[in-house]
C-alpha cells in the first residue's frame, strides 16, 4: 500500500466516523425530554400556538428529513439561530470558539513540551530520585478530577493569596498582560489533568526503546547521553507519544467544558452548558458536533502522524 493510499484510507475512515457521530448527536438531542415549542412559548403556550411554532420550525417533518436538512445546513456553515433569543449561532460560536481555542492552545503549548521533557527526564534513570518524584507526582495528579484541582487552585491563589482573579471574565479593553492573568489558573488546572498521562506514556515509550539493541549499539558506539536520548531514543518512541498527546488534546477540548464553567470563561464549553439549561437544541447540536469533530480530527491526525513518523512506511523497500 502506498503512503497516499494509507492517508486516503484514514481520511475516509475519519469522515465516516464524523457522519456516524452526527447521527448520534442528532438522535441524542432528539430524545431530550421536553418539547422545543413549549420551551420557546413558555407560559403562553396554547395548543394552536404550539402547532404554529412546530410548523415554522419544521418539527412536524419526519425524522430523517429533518436530519438531512440539519446536516446540509451544518456542513454549509449555517448553524441556525438560537431558540432562546433568535441570535445567529454562527457569529456567537465564532467569538466563543476563539476564546476556547486560546485556552486550549495555551494549555497544549505549555503541557505537551513539558510532558515530553518530564517523561524523558524520568526515563534517564528509571528508579532514581528524579524518576520516582516525577512518577509519583503524576500518579497523584492523575487521581484528582479537574474540577477539584481547579477549586483548590482558586482557593489558594485567588481567595487566600489574592494574586489572580477567580473568575475569567473578558473585557474588550484587555491587554496581553490581562489575558495572561486570567488564563493562568484555568490553563494550570487543565494542564494538570492532561500532563500526568502524557508524562507516564512518554516515560514508558522511551524506556521501551532504551531497552532495545539499537540503543545498546549506540552506547557502545560512544554516543553521548543527551544525543542518545534525543536523536536515538525519542524518534523511535514518537508513535505512542503522538497518540497519547492527541488523545489528551482531544480530552482537553471536552475538559474545557468543566473548567470554563468553573471559571465563568466565555468559551464554547460554557456556551453549550448554558444552552443545555435553556433547552436551546440547535446550539447544543452545533457545540456537540464541533467538540466531536475536534476529537475525530485530532485522533486522525495522530494516526497519520504516527504513520509518517515510521520510516518503514515513508520509504518503501
Amino acid at each position: 500500500m502506498s503512503i497516499f493510499e494509507i492517508l486516503g484510507q484514514r481520511l475516509i475512515i475519519g469522515l465516516g466516523t464524523l457522519l456516524f457521530v452526527s447521527v448520534l448527536v442528532f438522535l441524542g438531542t432528539e430524545i431530550l425530554p421536553g418539547d422545543v415549542a413549549h420551551a420557546i412559548l413558555g407560559q403562553g403556550a396554547t395548543p394552536e400556538l404550539v402547532e404554529q411554532v412546530r410548523e415554522r420550525l419544521g418539527l412536524n417533518e419526519p425524522l430523517h428529513v429533518r436530519y438531512f436538512v440539519w446536516l446540509t445546513n451544518f456542513v454549509s456553515g449555517d448553524f441556525g439561530t438560537s431558540l432562546a433569543n433568535g441570535a445567529d449561532i454562527g457569529t456567537e460560536i465564532g467569538r466563543r470558539a476563539s476564546n476556547t481555542i486560546l485556552l486550549a492552545l495555551s494549555t497544549a503549548l505549555i503541557s505537551v513540551p513539558l510532558a515530553v521533557a518530564l517523561g524523558l527526564m524520568a526515563a534517564v534513570k528509571p528508579g532514581g530520585m528524579v524518576d520516582r518524584t516525577i512518577t509519583s507526582a503524576s500518579l497523584a495528579l492523575i487521581s484528582f478530577p479537574d474540577f477539584l484541582v481547579a477549586v483548590v487552585l482558586v482557593t489558594i491563589f485567588a481567595i487566600k493569596l489574592r494574586w489572580l482573579p477567580a473568575i475569567a471574565s473578558i473585557r474588550p479593553s484587555y491587554e496581553l498582560l490581562d489575558w495572561v492573568r486570567i488564563l493562568i489558573l484555568p490553563v494550570t488546572a487543565l494542564s494538570f489533568t492532561i500532563l500526568a498521562h502524557m508524562v507516564r506514556m512518554t516515560r514508558s515509550a522511551v524506556l521501551n526503546v532504551l531497552a532495545s539493541p539499537a540503543i545498546e549499539m549506540a552506547i557502545l558506539k560512544g554516543v553521548p547521553r543527551k544525543r542518545l536520548l534525543l536523536r536515538h531514543a525519542l524518534p523511535n518512541a514518537l508513535g505512542p507519544i503522538i497518540n497519547v498527546v492527541a488523545l489528551n488534546l482531544a480530552y482537553l477540548i471536552s475538559g474545557v467544558v468543566v473548567i470554563e464553567t468553573l471559571f465563568n470563561f466565555p468559551g464554547l464549553g460554557r456556551y453549550m452548558v448554558e444552552a443545555v439549561t435553556n433547552r436551546d437544541v440547535p446550539i447544543v447540536q452545533t457545540c456537540a458536533m464541533i467538540f466531536c469533530s475536534f476529537y475525530v480530527v485530532l485522533n486522525m491526525s495522530a494516526d497519520i502522524l504516527s504513520i509518517l513518523a515510521n520510516p518503514r512506511v515513508r520509504y518503501k523497500k
Binding site: P213, E216, H232
Partner: protein, 556 residues
C-alpha cells in the same frame, strides 16, 4: 596520538569478574577470573554456549555491562589505558575511536529512524574527528571494500531497505570508520542465512587483515571461527576451559568440553548414511499433491508452487531451504494453519480438509506441530502440567488426574525430571523448554510431528541432545517427522529423505544420499558448499566456489 612504538599486547585482560545481582541482593559470578591478551593485528575468538559469558566478557572490554550486571574485579588495559577506571565521557571517547563493536543482529541494532550514513558517520562527525564530507567519502570506500552493491548511494537508505547480509556489513563499516585498534565482533553472522554467511565472513576477514586491526570474535560455532581466528579461548559457565592457537584447538583439543564442542559442530558427516531401500506401503502416511498457496487476500503473493511431497510412517523427511524459501509455509499448510489455493493434503490416502477448523479431532491428533521458538510457543503463565495435560484431555478424553500421571511419564520420556510438572516455562533453560515443546506435541499421541527449526535457536551441544531425543522417540514410537531447517549438516544426519526448497519450489527430493551427492542441483551444491569445514583454508575456496554457483543459479 597513536603509540605504535610499544611492543606489548594491545589489550590485557586480567582476572576479570562480572557478577549479576538479583533483587534480594545475592551476587553470583557470570564471568569468573578471565585473563587473556590480544596482540596488535591478532584475532582472538571467545567461544562457548549461551550463558558461557562470552558476550559479557567482550562488552566488559569496552567498560560496559548490561543492566543488572556489574564488573566486580580485574582490570582491562588497552595499550596503557585502564579501561575500567575511566569516567563515562572518557569511555565514550574510547568506544567511538579505539574499541568498536559489531552486534549480532544488525537488523535490530541499527536505529530504524535514521539513515545508514547518518549512523555510520555519526561518531567521527560529532566528535569533530572528521568533516562530514571526509567521513562520507571514507564510508563509501569502506562500503566498496566490503563489496556492498552501489557504495555511492546505499548509505542514503534506511536500515529496513537493505538485506540482512548487507546490514551486517554496513555495521562493520560503522565499526571501522574511526580506524579502531580493537574490533569486537559479537556473533556477527549467526542471524544470516547459511549461503550469505560465508560472504559476510570473508569480507570481515579481509577487512581485519587489510587494516591490521586486532579483533575479538565471539561465537558459539567452532567451525566458523577456525576461518578467522589466530587464538581460541573456550569458555564454559563464565570460566576459561581451554586456550590455544586455532590449529591446536581444532586438531588437538585437550579439554573434554572442547572435544564435545568439536563433536557437535555443524559439520557435514564424512559419510551420509542412507537408509536401506524399503518398499513403503501405499498410500503414504501423508501426501501433499500439487499444492500451490500464497499470502494476501486472494493468495496473490505465491509462497508455494506445485509442491508434491510424501512422508511415510516411521520416516524423517528433511525440508531444507533459506529464509523465504517456503519451508515453514509448507509445514503450516500441512497442519492446516494455511489453506492451499490448489492441490490438497492427504492422510492415509484420504483428503484432509484444507483448514484446521474443518478437520476432525482425530485428524488433528495425527499431525502435531513443534514450533521453533519454544519460549514463545509455551504460555509462560501455565505450569508444565497444565500445558502438557491439555492435549491429553482434548484428544484422548483424559480426566485431569489421569493426565497428571501421564505428564510425569511424558516428562521422563523427554529426559526431564518429573517434578518439572509444577514449574513454569520461564524457569527452564532453552534446551529444556524445547524438550517441553516436543513433549507437548507428543502428548497428543500423533503419528507425524512437523518440527519447524526446533534446534536452530539452541547451542550446538544442546541441539545435538534434542536430535538424539528425536531419534530415540522415533525408534520407540514409530513416529514420522517433517524436519524443517536451514541447516543442511543437521538434516543430512537425521533424515532418510530430503527436499530442497527455494523460492517456493522443491528443487530436488529423494533419499538423502542421492540428493546430496554429485551430480546434484546447483542450489543444493551451494548449500553444501556453505557448510564450514574444520580447516583454516576452507573459507577462501568456499567463497570462490560460491561465486561460480551463484552465477550458475542466476542463469537458471
Amino acid at each position: 596520538m597513536r603509540d605504535t612504538s610499544q611492543n606489548g599486547p594491545l589489550l590485557k585482560v586480567r582476572n576479570l569478574d562480572v557478577s549479576v545481582r538479583d533483587k534480594k541482593g545475592h551476587e553470583y559470578k557470570i564471568v569468573d577470573d578471565i585473563s587473556f591478551d590480544v596482540q596488535p593485528g591478532e584475532v582472538i575468538a571467545l567461544i562457548g554456549e549461551s550463558g558461557s559469558g562470552k558476550t559479557t566478557i567482550s562488552l566488559g572490554c569496552m567498560g560496559y555491562t548490561r543492566p543488572g550486571c556489574y564488573i566486580t574485579g580485574g582490570t582491562v588495559n588497552l595499550d596503557g589505558t585502564q579501561v575500567l577506571d575511566q569516567s563515562l565521557p572518557k569511555l565514550q571517547e574510547l568506544r567511538g575511536k579505539e574499541i568498536t563493536y559489531v552486534a549480532q543482529s544488525a537488523a535490530a541494532s541499527f536505529n530504524s529512524a535514521m539513515t545508514i550514513d547518518a549512523q555510520v558517520i555519526e561518531i567521527p562527525v560529532i566528535t569533530g574527528a572528521m568533516s562530514r564530507e571526509a567521513a562520507l567519502a571514507k564510508a563509501e570506500k569502506l562500503y566498496s571494500d566490503l563489496e556492498l552493491p552501489d557504495p555511492g548511494s546505499i548509505g542514503k537508505r534506511y536500515p529496513h531497505q537493505v538485506s540482512g547480509g548487507q546490514l551486517q556489513r554496513l555495521m562493520a563499516a560503522m565499526a571501522m570508520i574511526s580506524d579502531p585498534r580493537l574490533l569486537i565482533l559479537d556473533e556477527p553472522t549467526t542471524a544470516l542465512d547459511v549461503t550469505t554467511q560465508i560472504e559476510v565472513l570473508a569480507s570481515f576477514k579481509k577487512l581485519i587483515k587489510d587494516n591490521n586491526t586486532a579483533a575479538i570474535y565471539v561465537t558459539h560455532d567452532l567451525s566458523l571461527v577456525a576461518q578467522v581466528a589466530d587464538h581460541i579461548l573456550v569458555l564454559k559457565n563464565g570460566q576459561m576451559v581451554e586456550y590455544g592457537t586455532t590449529e591446536q584447538i581444532i586438531s588437538d583439543p585437550q579439554h573434554e568440553y572442547t572435544q564435545a564442542l568439536m563433536a557437535a559442530a555443524h559439520l557435514m558427516p564424512d559419510e551420509i548414511h542412507a537408509a536401506p531401500p524399503v518398499i513403503q506401503p501405499e498410500p503414504p502416511l501423508l501426501q501433499v499433491k500439487g499444492v500451490t498457496a500464497g499470502y494476501g487476500t486472494q493468495q496473490e503473493i505465491i509462497a508455494l508452487r506445485d509442491i508434491d511431497l510424501a512422508i511415510h510412517a516411521g520416516e524423517t523427511v528433511g525440508v531444507i531451504g533459506e529464509s523465504g524459501s517456503g519451508k515453514t509455509t509448507l509445514g503450516r499448510l500441512i497442519s492446516g494453519l494455511m489453506v492451499p489455493k490448489s492441490g490438497g493434503v492427504f492422510l492415509d490416502g484420504n483428503a484432509l480438509a484444507p483448514g484446521v477448523q474443518q478437520r476432525s479431532r482425530a485428524e488433528l491428533q495425527q499431525i502435531q506441530f513443534a514450533f521453533q521458538m519454544a519460549d514463545v510457543a509455551l504460555n509462560p503463565r501455565q505450569r508444565l502440567n497444565k500445558i502438557l495435560s491439555r492435549p491429553m484431555m482434548f484428544y484422548q478424553g483424559f480426566k485431569q488426574a489421569e493426565a497428571t500421571k501421564e505428564v510425569a511419564r511424558l516428562l521422563e520420556r523427554v529426559g526431564l525430571p518429573t517434578e518439572f510438572a509444577w514449574r513454569f516455562p520461564p524457569e527452564l533453560s532453552g534446551g529444556q523448554r524445547q524438550r517441553v515443546n516436543l513433549a507437548r506435541a507428543l502428548a497428543a499421541k500423533p503419528r507425524l510431528i512437523i518440527c519447524d527449526e526446533i534446534t536452530s535457536a539452541l547451542d550446538t551441544i544442546v541441539a545435538q541432545q534434542i536430535l538424539d531425543l528425536l531419534e530415540d522417540l522415533q525408534d520407540e514410537l514409530g513416529l514420522s517427522y517433517m524436519f524443517i531447517t536451514h541447516d543442511i549438516a543437521t538434516v543430512s544426519k537425521i533424515s532418510e529423505r530430503i527436499a530442497v526448497m527455494r523460492h517456493g519450489r522443491i528443487l530436488a527430493q529423494g533419499p538423502v544420499d542421492q540428493v546430496l551427492s554429485p551430480p546434484c542441483h546447483e542450489y543444493t551444491q551451494l548449500l553444501l558448499n556453505s557448510v564450514p569445514e574444520m580447516r583454516t583454508d576452507w573459507l577462501d575456496e568456499a567463497v570462490i566456489e560460491r561465486r561460480k554457483l551463484v552465477a550458475a543459479l542466476d542463469g537458471i
